[in-house]
Symmetry: C2
Subunit: 107 residues, 2 copies
């Protein structure tokens, strides 16, 4: 199933949220860390490395003092935008069920 291929690249708990953060433009590591609720520094580093290898994002070192590192989506990474949009719509539509916990809601 094609959805398996997509999940092979985008699956896991954090990649979709990291891409959603970078859709707003180039960001520093610390900005992404603030954007993605609940992710640890160690996990973010690991996910960013994996996403770089998968060519979803590009990493640029800026030789300021001190040095800073910027992350941005590649053209390939930007193709994920429709997935993010539909997930956000689904998240908004089902916010009640998600945030109030499922047990309280009669379907």
């Amino acid at each position: 199933m094609a959805v398996h291929d997509a999940m092979y690249v985008l699956g896991g708990k954090w990649k979709i949220s990291i891409i959603a953060s970078l859709l707003f433009g180039k960001k520093r590591y610390s900005d992404i860390l603030k954007d993605v609720d609940g992710i640890s520094g160690k996990m973010l580093s690991r996910e960013l490395k994996e996403m770089e290898i998968n060519q979803l994002i590009k990493r640029t070192v800026i030789t300021t003092q001190p040095v800073s590192v910027m992350y941005e989506l590649t053209p390939y990474g930007e193709t994920v935008q429709p997935v993010i949009t539909i997930l956000a719509q689904w998240g908004i539509a089902h916010r009640d069920l998600v945030t109030k916990g499922t047990a309280s809601v009669e379907l």
Copy 2:
């Protein structure tokens, strides 16, 4: 971000693929296991339990000899269909990059 809420419910490696399998209709545990490449029996049991708690799926025990258990999407689970469709389209569009491994492809 609304996408975090969506990923809170749909995130992880397997839920999207399990929902994709159940979009084709009611299925036995063994059918789902065959559909979802790479998932272990133990992991499938755990994910199905979580999805039942989250009201994405419904579990029906059929009192045949031997007893059999069927899984199906709830109306809430079916609302995920547009997400699956977009992910499948993305998976097809990027199959080359995904299956041939990223290194070999010039962006």
